[in-house]
Amino acid sequence: MDQYKGKSLSWRVADGVIELALNRAPANEIGRAMLEDLERFASSLSALESKASALIVYSEQKAGFSAGADLREVYTQAQKMEMSSAVQGVREFLERIHAVLNRIDDSPLTTIAAVHGVCFGGGFELALTCDLIVADKMARFCFPELRLGLIPGFGGIPRLKRDVGNAVVRDLLLTGRSINATKALSVGLASQVAAEGEALRLARATAAQVTKFDRHTAAAAKRFIKPIPSSELRNEIDIFCELFTRPAVMEGLRKFVEDTGAHPYLP
């Protein structure tokens, strides 16, 4: 379908550009609802790609691109189960989200993430599947997973390693700190920084540019320069699931979910 409006996202194709708009309040947390909609998108992508040269992924939520995995859902579900069942559930979720993100990563189209506000965890991992990141001046990028005793589980480490220097990967991963758009540009994570509120407009201008080029040639160039780190992506799932069994993780999730203070997104 050329147009779709689901519970957590919508898409449309116009003028050779697919636009995927994330829209799940409050901050596009990626839980089962978002995953199901993303799977719907991924399964439609081949048909959409035949009509387009570029894909833009952006958010309609004011808070930002995405705050990452729906930790409340993870905690609520895991709490009800024996740990072995919880880990099995986590593994199934990871395999499904990896399938979606791998499909976007592997798209022959030129893909552009227009990022504003928070781009954390799984949201950051979604942005990293794209060829280009256009960052709003107020965007922030972060892998906070170590704060919960975890590592990024949606493919973030292999994809970040693909894009930036190892020192930057170590900084983000091991400190759990967030970086702004200016820093993201300086390390090569973002290709452009937009004035506040202008990221989508710049992404559209960039997409309009790439639609001028022969699609077959652009796809060939992309296959040549953008490897999918398949083996590392599989390893990441295994490491994540092993870490998830540690008591510190459920305790970290509990604290995040039950925090009534102002600070859950700060270290």
């Binding site: 705050a67 001046k137 102002a262 997104y265 700060l266």
Partner: protein, 84 residues
């Protein structure tokens, strides 16, 4: 020629100005010792917005773990001051 160093008072004033503008509150109602979470009624996502404004304004990076436990404007200013 180097620009003169800002004093902590100047830095604090500029942070108060940024906070008032960003959160659309009267500047006169904000003071250096105020708890910005309570005074502004903000959460951590909004605090990150303020952090971004501050970083962009002063041209510094302030790792968010440096603001752990910081809730007043003056202490926030001292963290910035250490990076100017």
């Amino acid at each position: 020629m180097n620009s003169p160093m800002k004093t902590i008072e100047q830095t604090t004033d500029e942070i108060l100005d940024l906070a008032a503008t960003h959160f659309k509150v009267p500047r006169a109602g904000l003071g250096p010792e105020d708890d910005f979470y309570k005074k502004l009624g903000i959460d951590s996502l909004q605090a990150l917005e303020l952090l971004t404004r501050i970083e962009n304004h002063f041209g510094v990076e302030l790792p968010d773990y440096e603001v752990q436990g910081v809730s007043d404007f003056r202490t926030l200013a001292s963290r910035i001051q250490a990076r100017l």
